[in-house]
């Protein structure tokens, strides 16, 4: 018997990364802007997405959404009311979405007719951070009821995100939410991150968010 060391040098999530790369190429070829929404459970992803999808539809924009959920299709039913194509991804206990799940659930959709694809990840601030879904923009939601120090407790997901949304701003006063502290904590773990304050109830901040989407989508089309 001989003992030997074999070099491997392979990414553990290599398979997911390859699928995500292929997916991104495919989505880019269609001129789609893809957004991966992450947050803790209950931060307001579905509510925010409902409002976003409605507004986009009113403006004649073509959007679709995939929504990951451990067990139910409640979120998908809520989102479908916005009148856009929506599909549920049952993760069967998985605490995050993977690129293959996204790819599987796009089947049959005319991607070339879409401008925006939203993916609501499973509510979890840990696991989704390692999985590339082929998105262009990763958006992390932090609601005012969760405390200002979430970014310090979960630096990995905040650092891997491109945009932060401070959600449920209509409740800020009741929660004595310290906006300055929250923003400082986001900047501490992800210097330069664009941060928007929104309320899906009152509509505060939605215009800025929609403008950001329009701008990112334009950049996407120009780079095609």
């Amino acid at each position: 018997m001989e003992t030997r060391v074999l070099e491997i040098r392979k990414g553990i999530l290599n398979k997911n990364d390859e699928i995500a790369r292929g997916l991104r190429e495919r989505l880019h070829a269609c001129g789609l802007l893809t957004i991966n929404l992450v947050s803790s459970p209950g931060s307001g992803k579905t509510t925010f997405l409902e409002r976003t999808l409605r507004s986009l539809r009113e403006r004649g924009k073509a959007a679709a959404a995939l929504v990951g959920d451990l067990a139910t299709d409640n979120d998908a039913r809520r989102l479908a009311q916005a009148g856009v194509p929506v599909r549920q991804i049952h993760t069967a206990g998985h605490c995050h979405l993977e690129a293959q799940m996204v790819a599987d659930h796009l089947a049959g959709w005319d991607l070339a007719a879409l401008e925006y694809l939203f993916i609501e990840n499973v509510g979890n601030l840990v696991c989704p951070s390692s999985y590339d879904l082929g998105e262009d923009v990763r958006v992390v939601l932090l609601s005012v009821t969760e405390g200002e120090d979430k970014p310090l407790k979960y630096p990995t997901i905040f650092n891997s995100s491109d945009v932060a949304i401070l959600a449920k701003m209509d409740l800020a006063a009741a929660c004595e939410f310290d906006l300055g502290a929250a923003q400082a904590n986001i900047q501490a773990v992800r210097p330069g991150m664009l941060t928007l304050t929104v309320s899906s109830k009152s509509g505060e901040g939605m215009e800025d968010w929609l403008a950001l989407l329009a701008q990112k989508r334009m950049e996407r089309v120009e780079r095609r």
């Binding site: 001989e2 040098r9 995050h96 773990v189």
Partner: protein, 148 residues
Amino acid sequence: MHELSIAYSVVEIASESARQAGARRVNAVYLRLGALCGVARGALEFSYEIAAAGTLLEGSTLVIRELPARVYCPACQREGDLESVQHFLCPHCGAVTGDLRQGREMDVEAIEVDLPGAEPGTERREEPEREHGDAGTGDSQGNPEQER
């Protein structure tokens, strides 16, 4: 907890290489994990035993090398390791910088295997090779300065 599925991927990658090399057994698996890779070391170590059971890797040692988050500082034009991933500040001059150069890694670096040798009985153990300056797998218990 996604560490169990990560552990299964590690076992899959290692088993495939071991089988290709004709190995009978895997003694050790060497990983490197960046400080911002999103995997909790303890949970992975725990999951690894479960994932390795009944495979060529059963009973093998998981050797994890932790890589600190490293940033490039435009102010002093140098790279440096963050003292904490909660504060993206240049360790040399204290300037704010978000230019991450290392820290998301999550790789299988190497495996140590038993191959059916030509001369039975002459077992030889080798230390992992150090091919690249930063790729040493010998400092197995990770970087003591690493904060989690």
